[in-house]
Structures are given as C-alpha cells and as structure tokens.
C-alpha cells in the first residue's frame, strides 16, 4: 500500500509539471509581449510592469524564464488579477470551493442513481436495457450548458419553481436550516445538469460490471453454500462490481469537473466556471491559467485518491499481485 501511494505520487509530478509548462509556454507563445498575456489589457502603472518584468526575468533566455516561472508557481504566486483586485491563487481557491460544493453532492447522487439504473436494467432484461441505453446516450450527447438553459426556461422562467441563478438568495436568509434549504433549492438544477453525464457514465460501467460479477464463479460457490440471495448480492456481487465503478469515477472526474465549469456560467454559480468565462471575456489570462493549473491538480489528486481507495478494497492490488495462477 505504501509502495502504491509512493508510485502514484511520483506519477503525479510529471503530470503537474506538464500542466505548469504548458501554462508557461502559452504565455510566451502568444504573439507580442508576454506582459500582455500576464497583465491583460488592464491599465497598470509602468512601475508595476517593470517589476513583473524583473520578477519573471522576461529579459532573460526562455530557460531561465521557465525556471523563475516554476519557482513562482511553487511559492504559490500565480500572478495578480487586476479585474478582481485579488491574487490569482486566493481567487481561484475561493471559487474552487463553490465548484466542489456543486460537484461533490452531484457526483455522489449520480453514482447512487447510476448504480440503481444499472441494477434495474439487469433485473428487467428487455425494457431495462432500452432504458439504460437511452439514459447513457442522453447523458453522453446532451450539451450540458444547453440542458441548463432549458431547465432555467422551464422551471425558473415559465413555472417559477426554482431560482434560476446563483448559489444563494440575494435577500439573504436567516438560520442554518433556512440557509441549507436555500442552498439546496439553488443547487437542484445545476446539480442535476452536472449529474446527468455522470449518471450515464456510472450506469454504463456498473451495468457491465454487475453483470460480470453476477456471472463470476464465486457467486456459484456462495449459492452452493446456501446463503441468501440478498447476502450474495451485498457481500459478494456488489463489492466486486464496485471496483470498475470506482476506477471510472476517478477516470472521469476530469470530465465531471469540466462539465461543472460549463454549467456554472449558465446558472451564474460563483465557481471556477463562471470565473473562467468572465476572465476570458476580460482577457484576464493569469486567472485562466490559474484555473487550468488548479483543475489539473485537483484531477490528479482525485486520480491518486481513486487508486488508493481501489487498493484499499482490493487486496490483490494492495499486495502487488499481478494475476494468473
């Protein structure tokens, strides 16, 4: 297990390094002065420009620039957003919280719903399969930002059931319970929109893995022992079927985060996505880069966590067993 953790952490280094280097190269490859990319079109004092030029050693060769950029990133200095009057790091971290607040519950619910759909589709063969492939195709094909729009038109504009935008009501509410309820109401539509893709992903994999686990030989052993079907499902089938599902959650976390980023701007959810859209409009490039760097790092972390969870559940991975007899 230690070894697994170590190899995964070692693997993360080049990935994050690539993200950082891509970030660096992009600034330098933009036609014109990299300062334009760093400061944007925000009117700043020439003194400040000179300071940046000196700090990032923009008058030095590219290799030295890269080193100083890496050094800056390692210190947590991702630049300053003039539009928001805040350092990029604190801005991005702050917005990431809102994004995760949207994504986390959505992922959890989507996983459960996806598993349920998979179970149903296996239980009722013909109609279940049709239902499942409809869900899967819908989830993979629907543009999430458009789905969000349609939900707003229907539930907020026409029916007035749910709030259309933001994470909390403007007028403010009092009391923990009321705040929670208010958040929940705001969360429903974006949460659903984010979750749709994920339900499709989970349902597809879970169906295959459940079916696979059910046809495994050890199920026959369990049945031959004489234990109940319920116990067979919970103790033998489900744990084995969950392994591929866990992998796919980790593997698709990037897509889920991307989906969140796309959905947020539709619902004006104050997370990374809205920030991304605003920053692009305002040519606030350091923020865009910061979002890229942060989301890349989050995805890497989630991938490592997935592998560890997998190793925790599966003793074969834990002991480095490679299969075969």
């Amino acid at each position: 297990m230690r070894r697994l953790l170590l190899t995964r952490l070692l693997w993360a280094i080049p990935v994050v390094a690539v993200v950082v280097i891509v970030n660096f190269l992009l600034t330098r490859l933009v036609p014109g002065d990299p300062l334009v990319a760093i400061v944007g079109e925000y009117p700043v004092t020439p003194e400040y420009l000179a300071e940046i030029r000196h700090n990032l050693q923009l008058d030095q060769p590219l290799a030295i620039q890269l080193v100083s950029y890496l050094w800056a990133v390692m210190r947590g200095d991702l630049g300053f957003s003039f539009v928001n009057q805040q350092t990029v790091l604190s801005l991005v971290l702050q917005r990431a919280q809102a994004s995760l607040l949207l994504l986390g519950p959505a992922l959890l619910l989507a996983t459960i719903v996806g598993l349920l759909f998979a179970r149903i589709s296996i239980a009722r063969r013909g109609s279940g399969r049709v239902l499942l492939s409809a869900i899967v195709l819908f989830g993979f094909s629907v543009p999430v930002f458009w789905l969000g729009q349609m939900l707003i038109v229907l539930f907020a504009v026409k029916l007035h059931w749910l709030p259309a935008q933001g994470m909390a009501s403007m007028r403010g509410v009092h009391g923990a319970l009321a705040t929670g309820w208010d958040f929940f109401l705001h969360w429903i539509m974006p949460g659903f929109t984010v979750g749709v893709f994920h339900v499709a992903v989970i349902a597809r994999v879970a169906q295959a893995s459940l079916r696979d686990a059910m046809s495994q030989d050890f199920v026959i052993t369990a049945r031959a022992k004489g234990i109940s079907e319920r116990a067979i499902f919970w103790r033998h089938i489900l744990p084995n079927a969950l392994l591929p599902v866990i992998t796919v959650i980790g593997y698709n976390f990037g897509a889920a985060l991307t989906g969140t980023i796309m959905v947020e701007s539709v619902f004006a959810w104050p997370g990374l996505g809205t920030l991304l859209l605003n920053s692009i409009t305002n040519r606030d490039y350091p923020v865009v880069q910061g979002i890229f760097l942060l989301s890349g790092s989050i995805i890497v972390l989630v991938n490592i966590a997935t592998d560890l969870i997998y190793g925790f559940i599966d003793p074969r991975i834990r002991s480095g067993y490679s299969g075969g007899r």
């Binding site: 693997w11 080049p14 094909s141 991307t258 880069q289």
Partner: protein, 262 residues
Amino acid sequence: MAWISGGFVVLLCMVAVLAPLLLSPDAPFQISNSVLLAPSAGHWFGTDDLGRDVLLQVIWGTRISLIVGIVSALAAGIIGLVVGAISGYCGGLADAMIMRTTEIFQVMPIFVLAALIVAMAGAGETRIIAVIAGLSWPQTARVVRSEVLRIKGLGYAEAARCLGISEFRILVFEIIPNAVGPVIAVSTLTAAFAILLEAALSFFGLTSSDTISWGSTLSTGQRLLYTAWWLSVFPGTLIFLTALAFNMFGDCVREALDPRSE
C-alpha cells in the same frame, strides 16, 4: 438504430454541402428590423436580437459543427492509429513514453486547456480543429494499442512472422485491418465529443464573431434566455441530436463488433 443515426448524419452532411449553394453567403448575416420575433410562418425558428433569421443561422451553422466534428475526429483517428500502432507494435521505450503521454492527456481538463489555447492564441476553425484533434487522439491511440497488442500475440500474426513476412507488412496487412473496427467505434465517439466541444467553445464566446455555428447562436440565446427561448431551443436541439446520432452510430458499430452480443 444504425440506419436512423447514419441517415441523420448523411442528411446533415447534405444540408452542410447544399447550404452555400442554395443560400447566398450573406443571408444568415442579414440584419433586419424584425428583432427577436418568436417562431412564426415567416421565421420558423424566430429571429435574434439583430433581426437575423435563426433557421438560416442554424442551417449555416451545420457546416461548422459538422466540419469540426468530422475533421477533428478523422485527424485524431489517424494520429491515434499511427501512434497507437507504433506504441503497441514496437513496445519498449517508445511504448512507455507514448503511454505516459496519453496518461497525462487523460488527466488534463481538456475543455479548460482548449479554452485557454483558443483564448490566448486566437480563434479560427482550423485552430479549433487542431486543438480538438490534438487533445483527443490519445483515446484512439490507447484503443489501437491494446488491439495491436492483442492481435500481435494471436496465432495468425505469429504464423506470419514464422513465414518470414516482414514486420511492417504484418502490421499493415495482418494487424491493422483487424483493429479497424474498434477504431471506427471510438472515432465516431470522438466526433460527437468534438461537436460538443466546439459548441462549448463558441458558447463561451471563444470563436470569432464573424462565423456562425450552433454554439454561437446558443451563446446569444444565453444572454436573452428570459425573453427569447427559441434562440436556445433550436440550435441546442440540433447539437444534441447530432451528438446523439454519432454516439448511437458508434454504439451500433461497437455492438456489431462485440462477439458477446450475438
């Protein structure tokens, strides 16, 4: 299923090809005073805030969406095929390096990266195609690699080696023809992904304002969501249906190839 989805894609292709022949290139850009009209007999899909006809825009937008989808899927397919074949057949250091690269691609937030590149380097159809293809080939490469690895160990590939047939000929004539099915399946999925990605980029206002695509109309729709639902409904539905058709087609290919399905 295969016929419906395939037919829909063919229909769209025809629209994309015929549109410039039947319409004057200015038509979708024609500004008029009839601003934000709801769908009616005169304007089936309504008009936008500049009085442009949404139907014409949607027809015109088919070209961009399809070109981006198909061309980037093709490009990604070809890159993936070559890279995957090299990786799977040569093995060793080349394989290790390629696999590490695709692993890194897998954890990249592709949309954010694409948005970043397009925002900083400037928009344009070719650039968007290049970015999408450049970011989505690893999928294909992985599929090709695993197919090549599988087939390489099969009797007929080894028998060919024992007959003294050159490695290159074995790869081209024995292995790749048998690996093509999964590549097609994954490529149609890439096409759907590319169409959605292009739509997302234009939705975020990252494509240049003088091209019309489904995503860009949708982007206008977002601004006017409360007043003009038709600006969102029609182009969005088309993006959805097109992606659906590609995904369905990909599923059909995959199912036809899956020996367990029959």
